[in-house]
Structures are given as structure tokens and as C-alpha cells.
């Protein structure tokens, strides 16, 4: 059933003028999953999210959300998708009460009791103006607005980028609650990778408008290994496994591989690596530009 896939992109691309912000993006995100969308600024994260919620339309390829087209089926889809844009825009002159009223007026499926209960739990007075709230409080109000329409899919564009650590943890906690209580599917983009391993179960790495890696985080952690060993070349390893990053120092070579099966090679020491290291490797960090020249004595002794 197509609805077990919450978000599906097929060769999806978006061009602004001469520049492809997103290119050839193909992925499937299962319903009920929490997906991290990571990548440097300008990688296409915002573009992908905006295509998914219908704020922009594809130049190439297709995107289907909950089995529907965000452009053609906007009327049917909008009540089922919650979106918090970058910088969590809110009407600054509105009070919290008026902001909730906006949600109530513009969403047929609005759950006012839920919204008020959340605001109360956050300890925010309804009569306070949005402009007077802190960044973390504004983010929580924006999230309340998105959740109170009881969406099936929640899209968040860099929601915690400007929040302090406490606000960040509280924000993510709210999302996790919504996932555990209502089974909401979540896609959140971030260039802060630290939180994502605990919160997300799927990962999409975007770089330069392309999807470099898509998969479940558990599988990714289980299949990626750091191989260290004496100075040598990666050819033999590369024949069997995918070498993501290769770096050489004077006496040692490190290879970050996506293992295709078990790594049987006594020359290499295996290490597990955390998600951030894997992501950075895919984004091109830490690569040696060229292999460093081998010292003369070692070359002679070979």
C-alpha cells in the first residue's frame, strides 16, 4: 500500500535559473520513521522539504507524499502535512492566542485542546506577543502550530539551528512524544549531526544537490567501518568494499568503507565509527588530497 511510504521521490530535481538546487534525488521514507536530512548549507535540504510540502514545484522528476502529489492534491494533502520553515516564521505582532486562532481558522482538523494544553505545559501565557518570546519558545509555538492540526507527516527545516542546548533537547523531546503517541512520520533537516543518532532512524545525506547516502541508521552504523593499517594502498580493499574515504599519514593508512560483507583482512584493524564521522566522510571531509610521498628509506627497504 502506497501509504506505508510517507515520502517518495523519483529523479526529483529543482532548478533555480541555471543552478540545480536538487538533482536526481530518489528516496523512499517509510511511514512512522524519523528521518534526518543532513548536508552542508546549500545542499538542497530546504529545496527538498519545500517540494514535499508544495511550496515549490519540481523542475524534473516526481515527489509523492502520503501517496499524493503536493502540487495537484494540495487541498487534500495540506491538512495532513505539518511544516515548520527555517527560522520558524511566526507573525511577530500576534499574541500566542491569536497565533492559535490562526491555526484554528486555517485548519479544519485543528485540535484546539491539544494546542492549549501544549502551550500551558510550556508555561507560556496566551496573551504574550510572539516578538517577546525567546527563540526556543518561538520554535515551540511554531511546532505546536504544526502538530495541533494532527498531521501524519511533519517536515522541519533546520528547526534547532538557532536554539540553545536546553531548548534543543526540549524541542526534540516534543517531537519524539508526537512520534510515540501518534505515529507521526518526521523528516527533519539539520547541519548539526550530534542529536540525530538518538532521535532518527533513517538518514539522507545531501551534498551539492545530490543524495549521497540513504538508509536506516542502524544499517549504516553496522555496515561502515574504519580500517587502519600500515601505510599501503586501498586497491585490494576497494575491490570488495566501497571505500568512502581514504587518508594517509607517514606510516598509516585509514580507510572508511561501506563493507560489502565481512572484512577478512588481517592487515587491517577494524573500528566502529559514529554517525558524525560517517556523514563527514560522505561530505568529503578528511580526505587526503594526494598520498603523501613515501620516505626514501622505506621505499629502499621494499
Amino acid at each position: 500500500m502506497s501509504e506505508s511510504i510517507a515520502l517518495e521521490a523519483d529523479g526529483l530535481g529543482k532548478r533555480y535559473g541555471a543552478n540545480w538546487a536538487l538533482r536526481d534525488c530518489t528516496l523512499e521514507l517509510p511511514a512512522g520513521s524519523v528521518t534526518a536530512l543532513v548536508g552542508p548549507n546549500g545542499a538542497g535540504k530546504t529545496t527538498l522539504l519545500q517540494l514535499a510540502c508544495g511550496l515549490s514545484s519540481p523542475t524534473a522528476g516526481t515527489v509523492r507524499v502520503l501517496g499524493l502529489s503536493p502540487q495537484e492534491d494540495a487541498h487534500a494533502l495540506l491538512p495532513r502535512v505539518g511544516f515548520v520553515a527555517q527560522e520558524h516564521p511566526l507573525h511577530r505582532s500576534f499574541t500566542i492566542r491569536e497565533t492559535l486562532k490562526l491555526g484554528r481558522k486555517l485548519n479544519p482538523g485543528w485540535d484546539d485542546a491539544y494546542a492549549r494544553e501544549r502551550i500551558e505545559r510550556l508555561g507560556l501565557p496566551l496573551g504574550k506577543r510572539i516578538a517577546k518570546l525567546s527563540g526556543g519558545q518561538q520554535a515551540q509555538v511554531a511546532l505546536t502550530l504544526a502538530l495541533a492540526k494532527r498531521p501524519e507527516l511533519l517536515l522541519l527545516d533546520e528547526p534547532v539551528a538557532s536554539l540553545d542546548p536546553v531548548a534543543r533537547r526540549e524541542f526534540l523531546n516534543t517531537i519524539m512524544e508526537a512520534v510515540s503517541e501518534d505515529g507521526v512520520t518526521v523528516v527533519l533537516s539539520s547541519h548539526i549531526i550530534a542529536d540525530l543518532q538518538r532521535v532518527c532512524d533513517q538518514l539522507v545525506i545531501l551534498s551539492g544537490g545530490r543524495a549521497e547516502l540513504v538508509g536506516s541508521i542502524d544499517d549504516i552504523l553496522a555496515s561502515h567501518r574504519l580500517l587502519t593499517g600500515a601505510r599501503g594502498d586501498a586497491e585490494e580493499v576497494a575491490r570488495v568494499h566501497a571505500v568512502i574515504r581514504e587518508s594517509h599519514t607517514g606510516r598509516q593508512t585509514s580507510l572508511l568503507v561501506r563493507a560489502n560483507g565481512h572484512v577478512y583482512d588481517s592487515r587491517w584493524e577494524l573500528h566502529e565509527i559514529d554517525l558524525e564521522e560517517i556523514v563527514l566522510a560522505y561530505l568529503g571531509y578528511g580526505r587526503s588530497a594526494e598520498p603523501a610521498p613515501v620516505p626514501i628509506e622505506e621505499a629502499a627497504s621494499r
Binding site: L172, S180, R198, D218, D274
Partner: protein
């Protein structure tokens, strides 16, 4: 009641960390047969982690026979645990001590001993790559 903690920058998947902590808690007697594990909601609230992760961990523990889920109530430590008999543990302990003495006698320092040991005992995730 067990309190979970997370090593966020670990190469070990989150669900596995939870599984390992439950196993350890049972081994040490912190969790006894019949004790209730925290609910998914409680773990999510205290750790801010994905509820799917908790479910996956509990499913794995259920598969290993360490816990059982009672629908509508919660997840509980099994009344019958597949434990190694106490004699077996003592014998293993003694053998291990002898091995350590031999390793030290041949000149290995503690760190090298630990590295050797870790190398031989890889966590299940790595062997599963095979």
C-alpha cells in the same frame, strides 16, 4: 527499575546500547525476574530518543528470551532467564585469570591485553556484517 543512559557518539547502534544495558542489569541483579522495564513513553521522555529504537531494543530482548511483553501493561523481565549456571561462571572466571597471568608474564601491558581481548570478542553487530 533501570535507568538507561546513552553514549551518543558511539559506533554502537542506540537500540543495541539499550539491549546491552538490560543484559548487564540482569546479570548484576539490578533487574530481577518480574521487574517491569520502563515504558516506551518513559524512555522517550527521559532520553529524547526515537520510540522505534526502544521498541526495537525490547523486541530483541524478547527474542533472546530475557523479557516478555504483556499487552496493555508493559514489558517485564522473564521469570525464567537463560542464565549460565553459577558454577560455569566461576570456572570461566578462573580460566580468564590464568590467561591474564600468562599474558602479563609474556610482557603485555594492561592496554595491550584489553586490545587483544576486545579484538577477539567483537560486539555482535560486527560479526553480523559477515
Amino acid at each position: 527499575m533501570i535507568a538507561f543512559h546513552l553514549e551518543a557518539r558511539s559506533g554502537v547502534p542506540t537500540y543495541l546500547q539499550l539491549v546491552q544495558q538490560v543484559r548487564q542489569a540482569i546479570r548484576l541483579g539490578v533487574l530481577r525476574p518480574g521487574d517491569q522495564l520502563p515504558t516506551v513513553k518513559e524512555v522517550v521522555g527521559s532520553l529524547t530518543i526515537n520510540p522505534n529504537t526502544v521498541l526495537k531494543a525490547y523486541r530483541e530482548l524478547d527474542r533472546e528470551g530475557l523479557v516478555e511483553g504483556r499487552r496493555g501493561i508493559g514489558t517485564f523481565v522473564s521469570d525464567e532467564l537463560p542464565t549460565t549456571p553459577p558454577d560455569g561462571v566461576r570456572e570461566l572466571r578462573a580460566g580468564l585469570q590464568r590467561w591474564i597471568d600468562r599474558a602479563r608474564a609474556s610482557g603485555l601491558d594492561d592496554e595491550s591485553i584489553e586490545a587483544l581481548f576486545a579484538d577477539a570478542v567483537r560486539p555482535p553487530a560486527v560479526s553480523r556484517v559477515a
